[in-house]
Amino acid sequence: MKKEGQIRIPSGCAIAAVISKDGKKMSGDLITQAMKPMHVRSNGLGGGFAGYGIYPEYKDFYALHMFFDDRSSRISCEAFLKEYFEIVHCERIPTRKMPQITDEPIVWRYFIAPLKSMLANLQLDEKELVSRIVMKINKEQNGTYVFSSGKNMGTFKAVGYPEDVGVFYKLEEYEGYSWTGHGRYPTNTPGWWGGAHPFTLLDYSVVHNGEISSYDANRRFIEMFGYKCTLQTDTEVITYIMDYLVRVQGLTLTEAANVVAAPFWSTIEGNPDYASRRQFTYLRTVFPSLLVTGPFSIVLGYTGGLMVLNDRLKLRSMVIAEKDDRVFIASEEAAIRTMEPNAGKLRAPKGGEPVIIQVKEGAY
């Protein structure tokens, strides 16, 4: 059977997320619990989480979370990393042995800083270098996979049900100001850990529910700009699109959302505001190949915030609620009630309407 990455596997999913607008830290246990009532939305073939603000002691370093098939892959990868980076700290990521999670690869994390001499030599900025090296490892080094590469954030994922994955990674020991969680329902999978969500590049992480019909149009376009879609998943391509639009092209998150889930032409033409009409038209004209069609609901995590977005026809469920400084997001209201029974202001954002929740400046 072909492995994920050699073949495209559609999947359905469960999503949950929570963020504190005041930047207050929350234990990872909260998001693990949120996945429980949505158990039937996953099928045990993938679960994962992303936490922001979890590595305050190493916040200035890129945290690489990696899967290795064996010891020799790790040794050779470390040698490779040292050509470009200073490894400030590295260790095995703590996990629990439990019957629900098996066949675990070697899971390590590296806190790294790009070598200044290398940056000057390659004429690249830090982020570009890190993203290129991540692409290179994932494409070229068999048995090695980078699944998280941002600063002061980290992704934890495995094959299994998400509530078990949270326990496996001891998420209760981490404190973050924002968390996203994901349970996967792939139609078939050889059970590879890298295929679980969230998918990340630098500090962007995406959890996603859906199967996008524009996949290959998006993939073939984005691969022109140095990205390599090694997994053939929607989440991967959406992450790269957001990275390209926001980091490389300098769009705001809202503008990027207006590319990915662009309003219909008829909606644009009916917009009474001339400036918006012009902007929507411009973005659609310049980036037609980055329009994402088909059902999706995503939560994009980044340093200091979350963005929630549905496809423009709203073909996947997604609700938002609030309580005090916290905002909760989930595929189902039940997940929100688990995190906060008294959450209010419950609403379902419209198709294509981005909802951005930003942590107060200086609080993260």
Partner: protein, 501 residues
């Protein structure tokens, strides 16, 4: 007679019990096949002149006529087919180059027919275009590499010139001269009503049609017929024609007999002189020369409209397209070996060039590998016969399709492949006023609008089935295609998987 005699290719079968000798067939046939015999009181036929255009069959009020293939055959020979032997007789008699019209009838593989389209089941909902918006609009032109912001932080809305189409189809270049006035009028009016574009071809633009400018592509070919400042400014885009799928590597020849009246004036050449387009543009002997012509034209129109460079699909098309994409062109048009023509040397039409599907796949992939796919839009032609051909072309990577033969069929063409004789009984490829008036532009344009409307509906249904609600998300989406009965190599070039994979 004698050694040169070739038994007529077709037989006219007249049902005597139905024929009322109304002589409609006689009046309708410009080839003078039918005539009335006063002695016998019946209609007779001279089948040597019949081209099987079906005009008489279509207009016979009693359905007394049919045209069938003659069964008088030479002795069967797999190595020497009938047609090959007869072509040798013709050339031995005339000493001339064989001439043909319309696309090649040779059985080249039609890859469109070996590609199947995907649809959603369970994991992803299909979309009903009757209930949900379904977008077929496309914008052609170079896209900027980088978003720029002004000092106020706002996006600067700068954009190279673009053309917007309501659906990813344009009417391909067919010159006034090779086509009749009424055929051109039909195309222009239909393009306007549909919100798409038609193409003047290389014969200039008749003064009556300047009003359709926003829906017109004006062509500049090697003969430069009818090219002047107002002409260049008249359309929405300018197309430099380097080559044509039916006759790569050679020019064109419109005989002096067709250079009459308006056509002479429109082409800006004296009546009765042959209009000869040289094989190359004599100011383009290399890629850097092309760049100069592109920018000369851009200068002339103040960079206000996109420039299309049209080439025939030849062996090295991917590298050629890459060169064009770096030469200032906004749009590349590629025409495949099965593309049509008003007249072309038979041997060239039937043997030179490559199928458009392979050319398209190779070019799109190459431009992406080089990271310059965004520099240009890609329009393809060379036998796009249906809405599914369009959908497959878009999914392989085209921005839009040129159609010509399909459009002529809508106008009444019966594909008899004798355009070069100038005796088109359907009033399309002729300048004979009696024949031209048979094509009513009111009806012609309506039929074109009908055809495109029907295709658009079908495209929307197919997109909806795939769960795609904008044509932009279909472009280059090769995962939506699978091959059936194709070799590994063909699949590799097309960049698609085989069905079942």
């Amino acid at each position: 007679m004698g050694v040169d005699f070739i038994y007529p290719e077709f037989e006219v079968i007249r049902n005597e019990s139905r024929c009322i000798a109304c002589r409609v067939c006689e009046r309708q046939c410009a080839n003078e096949v039918h005539f009335f015999s006063p002695e016998r009181g019946i209609m007779m036929s001279d089948e040597t002149k019949c081209v099987d255009c079906q005009r008489c069959v279509s207009l016979c009020p009693t359905r007394a006529l049919k045209i069938i293939r003659s069964d008088c055959a030479l002795r069967e020979n797999a190595n020497w087919p009938d047609s090959t032997i007869k072509e040798i007789y013709r050339q031995a008699s005339s000493g001339g180059v064989l001439l043909s019209s319309m696309g090649t009838p040779k059985a080249y593989p039609v890859y469109w027919d070996k590609i199947v389209i995907n649809a959603s089941q369970v994991t992803n909902p299909s979309i009903d275009p009757l209930r949900e918006p379904m977008e077929t609009r496309v914008t052609l032109g170079k896209k900027p590499d980088k978003i720029r912001r002004g000092e106020d932080g706002r996006i600067v809305y700068e954009l190279p010139p673009q053309i917007s189409l309501s659906m990813p189809i344009l009417f391909s270049a067919m010159s006034y001269g090779s086509l009749s006035y009424n055929a051109h009028a039909s195309l222009a009016r239909a393009a306007e009503e549909l919100g798409i574009l038609y193409n003047t071809g290389e014969g200039g633009l008749h003064e009556d049609f300047y009003c359709y400018g926003p829906n017109t592509i004006v062509q500049v070919a090697s003969g430069r017929f009818g090219v002047h400042m107002d002409y260049l400014k008249a359309g929405s885009a300018i197309e430099i024609k380097i080559g044509q799928g039916a006759k790569p590597g050679i020019g064109g020849h419109l005989p002096g007999t067709k250079i009459v009246g308006d056509i002479s004036r429109t082409r800006m050449i004296p009546e009765g002189t042959d209009a000869i387009s040289p094989a190359p543009h004599h100011d383009i002997y290399s890629i850097e020369d092309l760049r100069q012509l592109v920018f000369s034209l851009k200068e002339a129109i103040n960079y206000s409209k996109p420039i299309i460079v049209k080439v025939a699909a030849v062996h090295n098309i991917a590298a050629i397209a890459s060169g064009i994409a770096r030469s200032g062109a906004d749009i590349i048009a590629i025409d495949g070996i099965r593309g049509g023509t008003g007249a072309a040397p038979t041997r060239i039409r039937d043997n030179v060039g490559i199928p458009i599907e392979l050319a398209l796949a190779a070019v799109d992939q190459r431009l992406r590998e080089e990271g310059i796919r965004n520099n240009v839009s890609l329009v393809i032609g060379g036998s796009v016969r249906s809405s599914t051909d369009v959908v497959k072309a878009i999914a392989l990577g085209a921005d839009a399709c040129y159609i010509a033969t399909s459009a002529l069929l809508a106008l009444g063409c019966h594909l008899c492949r004798t355009c070069h004789t100038g005796k088109c009984n359907w009033g399309i490829a002729t300048q004979n006023p009696e024949l031209v008036k048979r094509l009513n532009p009111d009806i012609g344009s309506k039929r074109l609008v009908n055809l495109m409307t029907a295709w658009r509906h079908e495209i929307m249904e197919l997109m909806g089935g795939m769960g795609i609600n904008s044509i932009e998300a279909l472009r280059g989406n090769r995962l939506m295609l699978r091959g059936v009965g194709l070799t590994e190599k063909e699949l590799e070039i097309l960049g698609i998987s085989h069905a079942g994979e």
